[in-house]
Symmetry: C2
């Protein structure tokens, strides 16, 4: 093998993303200079934030460049190293993008221990999604025992961890997910107290029934009507960690009508991105890592097979077709 | 005079408030028991929050009861006292409602010094509106020198103080108000750096032009399209003090479309009501009182003459017909 494959952004979406926005390319395997590390990626992480990067708008990160390798978290193995900190065979996570291989100077690579935790989990419950869950819950929502916490996209890589961390803190946890199957998983496997199927047609009533004492904290991944329904039941001084707004990522209108609740209930809402809070990563990783290694945080993965399947899997993620963490297996 | 007049809530509004929702009544002047104080009110304060109280919905305060005297702040003079802490002739502020007179046990009355500050200002710049401005700006927005701060309803009793306090902190201050006359006042008299007429038809462009470096803090009194236009220019880590949403108080839909900015710019939004933060009142009063007494905070009043004019004046306030603090003069 003298070449490897990667996927670039071919064009920006005009509304809904299509597979035509991506292009699979081959490139010769690079040679590495002093200090560099060559990584063979085993897994590619697909995440909703990538949708925002595809737009050429002001946001928390520069837009994904056209004709450049799509941004993305990766987990893999060092196959060549000119860097004393990394040896061939080391398992590493990085941000090497939608690509079978990648070169890094080591500054963006992190060695991980796969003795008790599988490599793929470092892209999920003990990776960026897990840290996102931990940060939003513990640093913004700050739940107290007995609080009722709502989580949208509850079966997803972030939402599932949010709920399990909240349960571990003695909270009543209400998930919102799309479809009966996901809701059963959220309740039966992840141990949430209730889960509302937002496709069930009774969102407001169902939220009210699931939260007889109102809602003290909301971890929001979706926005739009799902967020409005939870807002309607928020208690005074409730906290909202605004993590994602996937319902509007394709440009659909996503108005919030219950703004008045933010005032009347004196709520605090904070938008965040976990990568700006890396100083807390060790603290969060200690908690989530221990809970994952001991089986107390459960998670599920949906795995697409091979890089060429990444665009289709990404489209599915935006439609909620995945179940738990969406990965692409590269080897 | 053996009777006095007061106004009760006769019916709840069905959408837009009308004068028919109120009823003027006469009552005999009460005799006072031990510990009580009888106050002749000189001024009644009219404030947007009263509109929310008229609805029978869950909010930060119990709804205004039907057939009871409308809630409201008052400034007046003690005319009879069985309470050693109050003497006849003392000037006091209280919450005696839409009423020419009121009885209090003293716990809700505060003596005020009118040597350097006129009595009416204790319902405005050095009263609840001024403290609201001070709290939202200093405790939620926390402006730094050089920040750009936007204030909606900028010519109002709260907005005018917000902007002048922010100017005193070295900020660039942008007001939003309805009409050229209000905007001229906001800039020329209150000293804001810019003021946008939201009726001018170019809200988004005007905000952009007035805030070439973006907006770091928003003091929101209005909601709806006004808030959306400011959201579109918010800088990373901006803070929003959500004080009022007057554009929706009559039940008009008031969706916010730019929720995505809260996420992409990692904003913090906090709804608040100043009466829950009374422990900071002395600190706020020291600052605003000094600035008002020395003429460094300017304000304007719109004064309706006589209690019977209160309903009409209140309707005008909700339509932005007032200029500065809306008062009713009772004596």
């Amino acid at each position: 093998m003298s070449t490897y494959q990667h996927i670039v952004l071919a064009s920006r979406p005009n509304g809904v993303v299509s597979v035509d926005n991506f292009r699979l390319e081959s490139a010769p395997i690079p040679s590495i200079s002093a200090g560099q590390v060559l990584v063979r990626n085993h897994y590619l992480s697909l995440d909703p934030y990538m949708r925002m990067r595809m737009e050429d708008v002001k946001s928390y990160a520069a837009p994904q460049a056209l004709d450049a390798v799509m941004v993305g978290g990766t987990a893999g193995e060092v196959v060549a190293s000119n860097n004393p900190k990394f040896a061939v065979g080391d398992k590493v996570v990085g941000m090497l993008g939608w690509s079978e291989m990648g070169v890094d100077d080591g500054s963006m690579l992190k060695k991980v221990d796969t003795t008790h935790i599988p490599l793929s989990a470092y892209l999920g419950a003990v990776g960026m999604p897990g840290m996102t869950a931990w940060y939003g819950l513990t640093q913004i929502i700050k739940p107290k025992e007995g609080d009722t916490i709502a989580v949208s996209a509850a079966s997803g890589a972030v939402g599932g961890v949010v709920g399990q961390l909240a349960k571990a803190r003695g909270c009543r946890v209400i998930g919102i997910a799309g479809g009966k199957e996901k809701c059963s998983y959220v309740m039966d496997e992840l141990g949430f107290d209730a889960c509302i199927d937002y496709k069930g047609g009774n969102l407001y009533k169902d939220v009210k029934a699931a939260a007889p004492n109102g809602i003290d904290g909301l971890f929001e991944n979706v926005g739009g009507v799902v967020m409005d329904a939870v807002l309607a039941r928020m208690n005074p001084f409730g906290r909202i960690a605004l993590c994602g707004l996937i319902s509007g990522y394709d440009g659909e209108p996503m108005p919030i009508h219950n703004m008045r609740v933010l005032l009347s209930m004196r709520l605090t809402l904070q938008g965040f991105i976990v990568s700006e809070h890396m100083e807390l990563w060790p603290q969060g990783l200690t908690e989530t890592g221990t809970l994952v290694a001991t089986g107390k945080i459960k998670y599920r993965e949906t795995i697409a097979d091979g890089l060429s399947k990444a665009p289709e899997a990404f489209l599915g993620l935006l439609r909620g077709k995945n179940f738990g963490k969406q990965l692409v297996k590269l080897i």
